[in-house]
């Protein structure tokens, strides 16, 4: 308790809690050289992200962040009004732009729900229940995670086509449900790719919950299901949050599955940017408008980044701490 309070205090105070933090191993001069070297190495990253955002506010097509240009909101206006290219065929409506953002959100939220629903109970079983093949299942999940996605997507799409023919060509469902089918399929298919690793991460969180907590519930007569739902799940909220964030980001950023499974008329931000640029057909004058779209697309990433720094660094390799 006391140590926790102290470390919290030192974290809040930052440097002022200095004695609790470790001093760096090297001297100030060396630190300065290191920082300069790292800055130089980071230059492409810094410059390219800066350029993207700057370009979206720029009156001309600038190609480096240092080029002179005038600040304008014109690109944003064009983007939000759906005016992306000079030819009439490519002028979209504001509703279209909105639906694109909504589509991206649907996929991201759907993936999150499926990932949590599948991996939380599985992780609980793998952490707490004794059954045959438990260790084998855990190992198998790692193999699945390592599996070449491109080999899977052929089979996954074949099933999609087969079901499509049975459901829609065979007349089991009216055509109006086609879009719903595509979205549901892309969500579940994409979520499945996240499930093995999410299960592993959540298992780590369940492992850290003391057994006594669970025994108390079971001894009091709660069923396994109830213990899981009412006792264990609330205790691993940070883990659920972490997994949910990663699942959301995975759905949010997905390009390949969206391009493959969703029709062109239902683009997400990813496939929209992709369609603008593929084949190298876009007129250069509209690149700033695409930059505006990409900046919108980047916003959740940046938000998650700012609010979950520590989580990201700890979770990016699965070494999550509860």
């Amino acid at each position: 308790m006391m140590r926790g309070a102290l470390s919290l205090a030192s974290r809040l105070l930052g440097r002022r809690g200095g004695r609790l933090e470790e001093a760096p191993l090297t001297g100030r001069g060396f630190q300065a050289i290191l920082v300069l070297a790292l800055l130089a190495a980071s230059l492409p990253i810094i410059l390219s992200y800066t350029l993207l955002v700057e370009l979206s506010f720029s009156s001309t097509l600038i190609m480096s962040p240092f080029q002179k240009t005038q600040f304008t909101l014109e690109n944003w206006r064009l983007f939000l009004e759906g005016k992306l290219a000079p030819t009439a065929a490519r002028i979209y409506s504001p509703a279209y732009i909105r639906s694109m953002i909504v589509n991206t959100l649907i996929v991201a939220a759907g993936v999150t729900v499926v990932v949590i629903a599948a991996s939380a109970p599985a992780a609980y079983a793998l952490s707490r229940l004794r059954f045959r093949f438990r260790a084998a299942t855990l190992r198998f999940l790692i193999l699945l995670h390592a599996f070449p996605g491109v080999a899977l997507i052929i089979g996954v799409y074949a099933v999609y086509v087969y079901l499509y023919k049975r459901l829609f060509v065979g007349g089991l469902l009216p055509k109006e449900y086609l879009l719903l089918y595509s979205f549901a399929y892309v969500i579940v298919a994409r979520a499945s790719l996240e499930v093995p690793m999410s299960t592993w991460i959540l298992k780590g969180f369940f492992d850290r919950v003391p057994w006594e907590v669970e025994w108390a519930a079971l001894v009091d007569g709660a069923s396994r299901l109830r213990t899981f739902w009412q006792v264990m799940l609330p205790l691993i909220k940070p883990g659920l949050a972490a997994v949910a964030i990663f699942a959301f980001m995975a759905g949010w950023e997905e390009l390949i599955y969206v391009v493959v499974f969703l029709p062109r008329e239902a683009p997400t931000l990813a496939s929209f940017i992709h369609y603008q640029l593929s084949g190298g057909s876009l007129e250069a004058s509209y690149l700033p408008v695409v930059a505006a779209a990409a900046t919108v697309y980047l916003i959740p990433t940046i938000l998650f980044f700012v609010f979950t720094q520590k989580l990201l660094l700890e979770a990016a390799h699965g070494g999550l701490k509860a």
């Binding site: 390592a146 390009l255 980044f305």
Partner: protein
Amino acid sequence: MPGSRSWAPALFLSIMGFLVVAFYLLPLLLTVWASFTPIRDWRVESLGKSVGLDNYRRLFYLIRHDPDMGKVLETTVVFVSGTLLVNVVGGFLLAVAAFLLDERVSLGFRLLWLLPRMTPVAVFGLLWYYFFHGNGMFVHFLQALGLLEGPTWIGQDQRFLPWGAWFIIIFVNGLVGVSYGMIIFYSAFKSIPRDIYMAALVDGARLRDIILKIMVPLTRWHIIFVTVWQLLSLLTTYAHLYVLVEWRVVDKWYGMTWSLYVFETAFGSTVSDQALAAAAAVILIVVGIGLGLATLRIMGFERELKPVRGDI
């Protein structure tokens, strides 16, 4: 374990189990199956017919006689080994720098280097589309150094092929992948008792000795793990390569690795030959399972090392 509770594991594992069967095992079987059938243009009815080993024969014929296929193989070897080197060595150096720096500065840099991994593929592709644009920052940079005259797409220009395209695909994927090693190595360095570093410093050890005689040997399993895992990831990754090729940032064939070839053959706008793609995918599956098993063995050696997230 009382029999009354034996339903519990099955119940808790049911949703995951369904997804694993429907989206891993079944597709895997289908892909392997498809490689023995004449399926094209997604006519799934063709999955009922068999052509024996024809698709494999076609694949090996192409490997031997099609110059484009030769480019794909060359690109795969150069891309995987080049990016692997960047990811492991670069990740190690970044981790050393981050470890030696004051925590606040270090945190900033680690986050900055994680940004590419977290950025949506379409946006990340766009960043480098601008950067390697025929009139982009990189070309301006080369012009300023006097290495280049006039605007040109480095990844497409015949004068610079194949290395122009290879440089770009290694650069872009290296930026995404390097943070993986950085994070693993950084936490490995942190887990070495601080006294060891201190003792070495007190004894007058130089930084080079600390790196070579303490950090490298004590993290050797991490290094092996990152190398094998990255090797597997790089063999199977294709999303970033896909946008670079489709957006014409790089040459089609010198930007295409084996896994992108599988994807383009199955889903491409010009070819839609799922049978051939499946045969090529089976080779990837065999390699993937082998490397995956190797990773498991390494993780057995280093129990504390948790499994990992991230595609590259």
